[in-house]
C-alpha cells in the first residue's frame, strides 16, 4: 500500500502527464480515473475522501468508493495528491501540493486556512532546529480557534 511510503513523492506530476506516466509503468488510463482526475482538478487544496467520492458520483453515478480509494493511492504515488488526516481523524487529500504546507482547522467555525510557503518553512525550520525532525507538514491539519471565534 502506498500510504506506508515514508514521504510523499518528490516532484508533483502535472495533470496532462498523468495518462503517460500511468502507461509508462504498465498502468491504464480508464474512464474512472479520467473522472477522478477531472474532479481533483476542480478541487485544488484540501478535500476529504467523502467529498471526492461525492463529486465523482455527480459526474458518474456508478462511481464506487473502493475504486476511488484505490485510484487515489495510485495518484499519491505520482505525487498528484498526498493524504493526511483531518482534525476528526478521517482521510484528507491535498491536491497537487506545490510547496510544503499544512492546514488549519478552526474548532469554532470550521474555517480552514492553509499554512503555506514562508510560514510553513519557518515552522519546519523551527522544529527541525530544536528536535532534529524533518517535518512533513503537508500530512497534517492543526486545529484551534481562529481570530473571529476567539473574540466571541
Amino acid at each position: 500500500m502506498s500510504r506506508t511510503r515514508p514521504l510523499p513523492a518528490a516532484e508533483p506530476c502535472p495533470w496532462d502527464e498523468i495518462p503517460g506516466r500511468l502507461r509508462a509503468t504498465g498502468m491504464r488510463w480508464t474512464p474512472q480515473r479520467r473522472t477522478l482526475v477531472r474532479v481533483l482538478q476542480s478541487m485544488e487544496g484540501h478535500v476529504s475522501a467523502a467529498e471526492i467520492i461525492e463529486r465523482c458520483r455527480a459526474e458518474d453515478a456508478t462511481t464506487t468508493p473502493s475504486t476511488v480509494y484505490r485510484t487515489l493511492d495510485v495518484l499519491e504515488d505520482l505525487g498528484v495528491v498526498c493524504h493526511g488526516h483531518a482534525g476528526d481523524g478521517r482521510e484528507e487529500y491535498h491536491v497537487l501540493p506545490q510547496a510544503p504546507h499544512g492546514h488549519f482547522y478552526c474548532d469554532g467555525c470550521g474555517a480552514v486556512l492553509e499554512i503555506r510557503d514562508e510560514l510553513a518553512k519557518e515552522v519546519v525550520r523551527l522544529l527541525e532546529a530544536h528536535l532534529g525532525f524533518e517535518i512533513d507538514l503537508s500530512h497534517l491539519t492543526l486545529s484551534g480557534r481562529c481570530r473571529g471565534c476567539r473574540e466571541e
Copy 2:
C-alpha cells in the same frame, strides 16, 4: 459528547482530586474508573486508545472498550486527558498535559518526541501571528523523519 467541546478544560486536575470532583457533580467513583485512572497515571504522555484498553485489561481482564472510551470522555472533561489524532487517524490521548505541547512521530523508526514548553510556545506564537489562529497544539501529532532516519 465532550469531544465536540471547543478547547480542553482550562486547568488540569490532580490525580487525587478526581474522586472528589466526580462525586461533586453527582458522578461515581467506580472500580473501572479506578483501574483506568491507575493505568493513566503510569502512562503520562501520549497513548493510544488501544494501549490504554490493553493495559486496563492487564489489570482487570473484564475491561470493556466502551467503558474505557466513555470514562476517557469523562476524564477529558476534568482535564486529566485530552484527545487528538495520531498520524494514522486513530484516537490518541495525552495524559495530564501540564503545558501546551504536541507530539512528533517519526515515520522512519516510530520514535515519538514531545514538542513542549519554549518550542511549543514559539510555534504557537508564529502561527498565531501569521494566521490569527489560536492553536491547540496538544490536539495533534506531527509526522516526519527524525535526524537518525534522515541520515540512513
